[in-house]
C-alpha cells in the first residue's frame, strides 16, 4: 500500500508530445480512476509507471521509493518496480495453464514451491477461479481470462495495482460483476488501485477519486466523484462526464436571451464573464423541467419511457436538447406528449465559452 506521485512527466513519441509536464498524486489505499478519451495519454502514463516507457523529464515515486527520476538518472527496471498490472488485452500467457500463469510472479521471486502453490491457489480463490487452475487460457471465456489476469496481478503484494481498461471487452452484465469484484478485492487487500478507463460510467461505479484527462494529455480535474459531477472544472469535464445540453446565450435589451434561431428571453442568472456573449449555457438533461409559464418554448420531438424515467428530445428553436424526467417529477408535474409545445426552465446551469460549431450533445 503506497501513494503514487507523478511529477512533471513529459513523454514524446517522435514529434508527438503525449504528456507535457504532467503531475498527479494518487493517495494510498484508494481506487483512483484515470478517465479520459481514447488517445489522451492514460496508457502512456501507466506505461511510464510500470517502467515500460521512459519519460523525458520528471519523476515517479511510489511510497518512499523513487522509481524514476530524469534528473537523478534513476530508472528502476520494470521487473523491480513491484507494481501489479492487469492489461487491457489481459496478456494471459496462452502456453501456460491458469495456475502456471498465476504462479509466474512468485517463481520469479524464487519462492519455495509449496508457498508458490499455496499463494497462487489463494489468489485464484479470490477471483473464484480455483476450479479452472489446470485449464489453458484458450479454454476460458473473456471474463475468466480477465480474472486470471487479476489473480496474477494480486498474487504478490504489490505496492500499487494498475488496471488498464480491464473490462471493456466484457458484456454489460459481466462488467457490472467485475466492477463489484474489483471493489471487494480492494477492500480485502487494501491496495492502491489505479484504474484506467475511457468509460465514465464504470469509473463512477468504482472509484474513490477520479482524475480527468483531456484529449491533449493535460489533467483537468482531480477529485471525488461527486465533486466532479457537481462542480466540473471546465466544459470538457462537464461534457465528458455525462450527457449535456448547450444553448448559446447573448445580451438582449436590458437582459439576456437564448439564441436558438429565434431569441428566447432568459431570466436566469448569468455570471459576469458570460454577459458579453460568446458563451453557452450548459445543462444536464435531468436539470431541465417543464414549466408552461416559462418564455422558453420547446416542441416535444420524441418521448421514450425507460422504466425509471422518461427520456425526451425537445426542439428549442433550431437546437435539440435532451431531457430526463424522473418518475417522481412526472407524477408531480405530469408528462409532455410528442408534438406538444411546452415551456422549459433550467436548474443548475453552467456557462462555458462557446466551441466553434458547438452543438448540443
Amino acid at each position: 500500500m503506497a501513494n503514487v506521485k507523478f511529477e512533471n512527466i513529459t513523454f514524446r513519441y517522435g514529434q508527438n508530445t503525449v504528456l507535457d509536464n504532467f503531475s498527479l498524486e494518487v493517495e494510498s489505499g484508494k481506487i483512483v480512476c484515470l478517465v479520459g478519451p481514447s488517445g489522451c495519454g492514460k496508457t502512456t502514463l501507466v506505461r511510464c509507471l510500470l517502467g515500460l516507457g521512459k519519460p523525458e523529464t520528471g519523476s515517479i515515486t511510489v511510497g518512499e521509493r523513487c522509481l524514476f527520476d530524469a534528473k537523478r538518472r534513476i530508472n528502476v527496471p520494470a521487473e523491480k518496480r513491484n507494481i501489479g498490472i492487469v492489461f487491457q488485452d489481459y496478456a494471459v500467457w496462452p502456453h501456460m495453464t491458469v495456475l502456471e500463469n498465476v504462479s509466474y510472479p512468485l517463481k520469479k521471486q524464487r519462492r519455495p514451491k509449496d508457498e508458490i502453490h499455496k499463494r497462487a491457489m489463494h489468489a485464484l480463490e479470490q477471483v473464484h477461479m480455483t476450479e479452472y487452475a489446470n485449464h489453458l487460457p484458450n479454454q476460458l471465456s473473456g471474463g475468466q481470462q480477465q480474472r486470471v489476469a487479476i489473480a496474477r496481478a494480486i498474487v504478490v503484494d504489490s505496492d500499487v495495482l494498475v488496471m488498464d481498461e480491464p473490462i471493456t471487452n466484457l458484456d454489460a452484465k459481466l462488467r457490472e460483476e467485475m466492477l463489484l469484484e474489483i471493489r471487494m478485492i480492494q477492500k480485502r487487500l487494501g491496495a492502491t488501485i489505479l484504474y484506467i478507463t475511457h468509460d465514465q460510467q464504470s469509473a463512477l461505479q468504482l472509484c474513490d477519486k477520479m482524475a480527468i484527462m483531456e484529449q491533449d494529455g493535460t489533467l483537468c480535474q482531480y477529485g471525488t466523484d461527486d465533486e466532479i459531477i457537481l462542480r466540473p472544472a471546465n466544459r470538457f469535464t462537464f461534457e465528458f462526464i455525462g450527457v449535456s445540453n448547450f444553448l448559446p446565450v447573448m445580451p438582449s435589451g436590458s437582459g439576456f436571451a437564448l439564441d436558438c434561431g429565434t431569441l428566447f428571453p432568459y431570466d436566469g442568472e448569468v455570471p459576469p464573464q458570460a454577459q458579453k456573449g460568446g458563451y453557452e449555457l450548459g445543462v444536464r438533461p435531468n436539470d431541465v423541467i417543464f414549466d408552461n409559464t416559462s418564455p422558453i418554448r420547446a416542441k416535444v420531438d420524441s418521448r421514450v419511457f425507460l422504466g425509471s424515467e422518461y427520456n425526451y428530445f425537445l426542439s428549442v428553436g433550431d437546437r435539440q436538447i435532451r431531457v430526463q424526467q424522473s418518475m417522481l417529477d412526472a407524477r408531480q408535474r405530469g408528462t409532455a406528449a410528442e408534438g406538444e409545445e411546452v415551456g422549459i426552465r433550467f436548474l443548475n446551469t453552467r456557462f462555458y465559452p462557446a466551441k466553434k460549431g458547438g452543438q448540443a450533445a
Binding site: Y13, E79, Y104
Partner: protein, 576 residues
Amino acid sequence: MSMKGYSGVSAELAAVDGRKRINMDKVMTGICFVLLLIIVVIPIVMIIYNAFFNEGRLEIEMFSTQMTDPKNLDAMFNTLKIAIGATVLGTIMGVFYAWLLGRSDIPAKGLMRALFNIPYMFPPFLGAMAWDMMFNGRSGYINKWLVSVFHLESMPININSVWGIIFVEVSYYFPFVFMQVVSALERMDPTLEESARIAGARQHQVIWKITLPLVKPAISAGALLILTTSLAHFGVPSILGYAKGIYTLPTRIYAVIYNSGGSFDGIRQGAALSVMLVIVVSLALILQNRILSAGSYDIIKGKSMRPTLIKLRGAKIPLFLLAIFTLVLIVIVPLVMIVLISFLKAYGLPLQFKNFTLAQYQKVFSANGTIDSIRNSLFASITAGVVCMFLGTLVAYVVQKIRPKGKEVLEVVSMLPYAIPGTVLSIGVILAWSGRIFGINLYNTIWIILVAYLARYLSFSMKTSSAALLQVHSSLEEAARVCGASHTEGLADITLPLIRPAMVSGFFLIFLPAMREVTTSILLYGPYTRTLGVQIYSLRDAGMIPQAAALATVAIGIIIVLNTIVTHVTKDRKGV
C-alpha cells in the same frame, strides 16, 4: 492508444536497463547485421564487383560482350517464355483446383487435399527425368510405343522443348498457388458471398465479382512464387533442354562455368550472366506487381469458417475424374516410370519383366559416392535448417520487436536471397569464399554448400518466425517484465515458447527442400561433397540412367518418410 505507442517498446526496455549490463537488444541487433553481411551481402557484392571489375580495374567489356552474345540473349528469352508460361498456366490450374477442392461439393475432399500437396513435395527435376524417359524426342518409352502402335513416321510428342519444360514446371509449381488460395478460400467469411447472392447476383457472377477479387492477394502471392522459382530454376530446363540446346539463364550459367572447367574467367562470365538474370527477375517482379498488385483486404478472418459449398450437380463426376486424372498424370505416372526404370538392366531395353534386375540398387549402394551424398545432404540440410531457424527468428525478433535504426535494411537484406536465384547465389558464394576474402577457402568443401544454403533459406524461417511474432502481442512479454522477469527471462519464458511451433515448421520448411536441392549445389560440389540431388543429376548426366532412377527412388522414399514425420510432429500444438 495508437499502434505507434507500442512500437518502440522493446527499444525503450533496452534503454531502461541498458546502463547496468550489456544491452542484449544491441548485441542481438549487432549479430544480425554481422551475420547477414557475411551470409548475404558479401556474396552479392562479389558478383557485382566481379561482373564489372577485373583485378581492381573497371572493365565493362566482358559484361557487354556477355550481354550481347546471341546465345545468352536466347537463353534470356527462353527463361522469360518458360517463366511466364509456367506462371500463367500454373496460376490458372492452381486457382481452378483450389476452388474445386475448397468450394465445391466434390467427393473425397480431405483425401484430395492431401494428394494435391504431393506435387509440391515431388522434386521437379525428378519429374523432369521421368517425363524425359517417357517422351524424349528420340528415345522416350511412350513415344516409341506410340510409334509402333500407330505406325507413326516420327515421335509424336517431344518433351525436350520449351513447351515441355513449361508443362513439367506447371505440374510441380501449381501447388504454390493452390495452397495459398485454398487456405484463403477457407478463411473467407462466407457471408460476403451470401450477401452477394441475396443482392441478386448469380452463382457465376459471385465467383467472378466477389470470390476471385477477395482471394486475389493469395493468387498474387502464389503466382509470384511460381514466377521467381521458375526464373531461377535449374533442374527441369537442364534435364529437358540440354539435349536440344535449349538454354535458360541458370543452365547457361552452369554451362559457361562447366565448359571453362571452373576457371576464374568462366566464373566471371557466370557473374556477368548472373547480373543479367537478376535484372530479368527484378523486371519480372515489377511487371508482376503492376499486373497483380495485391490489395490488402481485411475481410479474410483468421479463424476458419464453414464456407457454403457450390453444388456441381452433373459436372460432379467428370470434374472429380479430371482431378484424379491430373494427379495420376503428374504424380503416379512419373513415379511409376522412375521406379520401373530403376529395375532395368540397361536403359533403352523394353519394359518387360525379363529385363528387370535389382543390380542397379546394389550398384548404387555399394558406391561410396551415394552414401556420401546422402550423408552430405543430411548434414547440410539439417545444419542449414537449425542455423536458419535460430538466425531467422533472431532477425525476425530484431526487426519486429527491437526495431533498431536500419531495420528496413535488415529486413530487405534477409529477404533478398528469396528473389535471387540459387545459381546466382552459388556464384557469389564461390567468388566470396574461395580464398579471396581473408584467405578463407571453402571451395570443394561441404561448408561452401552450407553457406549457400544458409543464404538461400534464411528468408524462409524469417518469414514464419516473423508471422508468429506478429501474433505475440508485446503486452505478453511486458506482463512478464512487470511480474518480475528480466528482459532475457521474458524472452525465454514467454516469447520463445510461443513461437516455438513456428520455429519448428520453419526448420522443416528449410530441411525438406534442402534435402533435394540441385540448383545451388550443382555449382558448388567438389569430388567428395556431392549432395543427393547432385549425385542423381550426375549419374544421369553420365548416362547411367537406371542407376540415377534407383537413387531417385531412394530419394523419393526418404522424402516421403520425412514428410510423414513432419506432419505428425507439427500436427498437435499445445495451447497456441
